[in-house]
């Protein structure tokens, strides 16, 4: 209970920190729009025949380009939150010189990442609501009512990404200067989950990697419920795969994080950066 209170306090602190920089708050909405959503929409629309993206229908079973891209943005945003807000924030504490004092408090190390996860998820939710509002108002974004059935898939993906964030935080603790690592792996992870294009288009060697990632199944289930896209596998089977991969990702991430914590304390490298 104390750890949960500590996690909430960390989340509150992170939310307050970000809210003090209004430009950063605005950029959380507009950066995904002008760097991802709008270019992808215009690129996709350039293949449209009489207003219909017939190629997309052939690929996934729907011509709803806006829905495909905006829902992909949800998963990209969630992945970016895990990589940057949860894992990379450890590095930010290192650079600010506050990691060591934080490590000395009686709060469990797990609560530190969990608190960042809660703070990151707050801003993730905030930006997604704003982006969807813009999509609905200006880009004809509409979903089927069945999209609510995908909420369990989204919740499971969130749990899985917290597990993966623990794993990444372990890497950050060990390698310290992790900017390039986080940047590259965030990009590769996002691509492998099918956020930008269906995973069946990935080169054959990379497809098995995509299928061991929980968000791959969550992405497919969300698009299937919200847009009626053709599923990769039977939806029930996808839910089973999502539950199983999440059940593996979370404890494995936590185990790696605890190992890294033990290692940096043994080697005395917590104050190095």
């Amino acid at each position: 209970m104390d750890d949960f209170r500590a996690a909430l306090a960390i989340a509150r602190k992170d939310i307050r920190n970000v809210s003090r920089y209004r430009f950063v708050v605005a950029s959380q909405i507009f950066t995904p729009l002008y760097q991802g959503v709008l270019p992808a929409l215009l690129f996709g629309a350039s293949f449209a025949v009489a207003g219909h993206v017939v190629g997309l229908e052939k690929t996934i079973g729907t011509t709803d380009l806006a829905g495909f891209i905006f829902l992909g943005g949800v998963m990209s945003g969630l992945v970016a939150t895990a990589f940057w807000s949860m894992a990379m924030s450890i590095r930010n504490e290192m650079e600010a010189g506050t990691l060591e004092p934080t490590w000395l408090t009686p709060t469990s190390r797990e609560a530190i990442v969990l608190g960042r996860a809660l703070g990151g998820l707050f801003w993730f939710g905030f930006s997604q609501v704003a982006i969807f509002a813009i999509g609905i108002a200006f880009f004809g974004l509409r979903f089927r009512p069945e999209i609510v059935f995908a909420l369990p898939a989204l919740a499971l993906a969130v749990v899985a990404m917290i597990g993966i964030a623990y794993l990444l935080a372990a890497v950050v603790l060990l390698i310290k200067e992790a900017n390039f690592f986080i940047d590259c792996t965030n990009f590769l992870f996002g691509i492998a989950t099918g956020a930008a294009f269906p995973v069946v288009l990935l080169p054959g060697l990379l497809q098995p990697f995509a299928f061991i990632l929980p968000p791959t199944y969550a992405m497919d289930l969300i698009r299937q419920a919200g847009l009626g896209t053709r599923p990769l596998f039977d939806p029930a089977l996808e839910y089973v795969a999502l539950v199983v991969t999440t059940a593996i990702a979370y404890p494995v991430g936590l185990w790696a994080y605890r190992r890294a914590d033990r290692r940096i304390r043994r080697l005395g490298t917590i104050n190095q950066y």
Partner: protein, 282 residues
Amino acid sequence: VNATYLAGDLRALRAAGLMSLRQIRRYPTNLLGTIFWPVLLPAAWVLMGQAYSGGGDPAALNAFASRSGTTGVTLFVFVGFLMYMWLSALLWGPGTALRQEQIRGSLEAVFLTPVSRLVPLFGPTLTNIVWIVLDLVVMGIAAWLLFGVVLPLQGVLLAFAITLVGVPAMYAMGALFGSGVLRFGEIGPAVQFTRGGLSMLCGITFPIAMLPNWAQATSLAMPPTYIVDGMRNALLRSASPADLVPAAASLIGLAIAFTVLAVVVFRWLEASARRSGMLGRY
């Protein structure tokens, strides 16, 4: 006396170029990004193109060709991202050179030297060409190895020529952007915004025909538009040197306009920064 000053400024310009070349050499791990991003960013967009075109559906490809002038989606995307990489290198490099001097605490010292103020503004941009050439080579190889697209030799030479013609205009645009440091200090978010804006305007990831008319008109005042279009003409539409003359002329005109604008804005902001003491603040 003026000739002596000019010779001194040219020596300082060369020294600033050598300094930035040495910095590139000292951080070899930065080269990893030069291989990762120019390969994987466009590769992801090519796969997006395959998703949107239904794996090469003729009707979808014809629709794309009617807007872009080519069915060669792979090369279209790779050329666009070559410009994206160039813009990134330009804005994060020369565009933020003054800011880096400011953070290191050396901007005031540099401004106290007797060389022209234009030296620190344009000097670090000289080595930017290293990244462009590296990106050109890496992306050419990636397009060939990953997607089987073999670049025509004449097209490559003409693309390189139009790149060289575009260098002054791009440098001037970067210098104009970099001057903003003297007024605003932290310009990191502005780099993201400017790069995103130029990517949208200049036909980097999609054909310009997709933009509304006002945006298409604005794109004509941006050097990257002509460079990207010229390169695509050379590589995808077998353009001859004569076909590229109008684009080259536009680039020279924009280089002059942006240089004059950069110098005027820089002088104005410098005077303001000296009055307000902004040089030492960050």
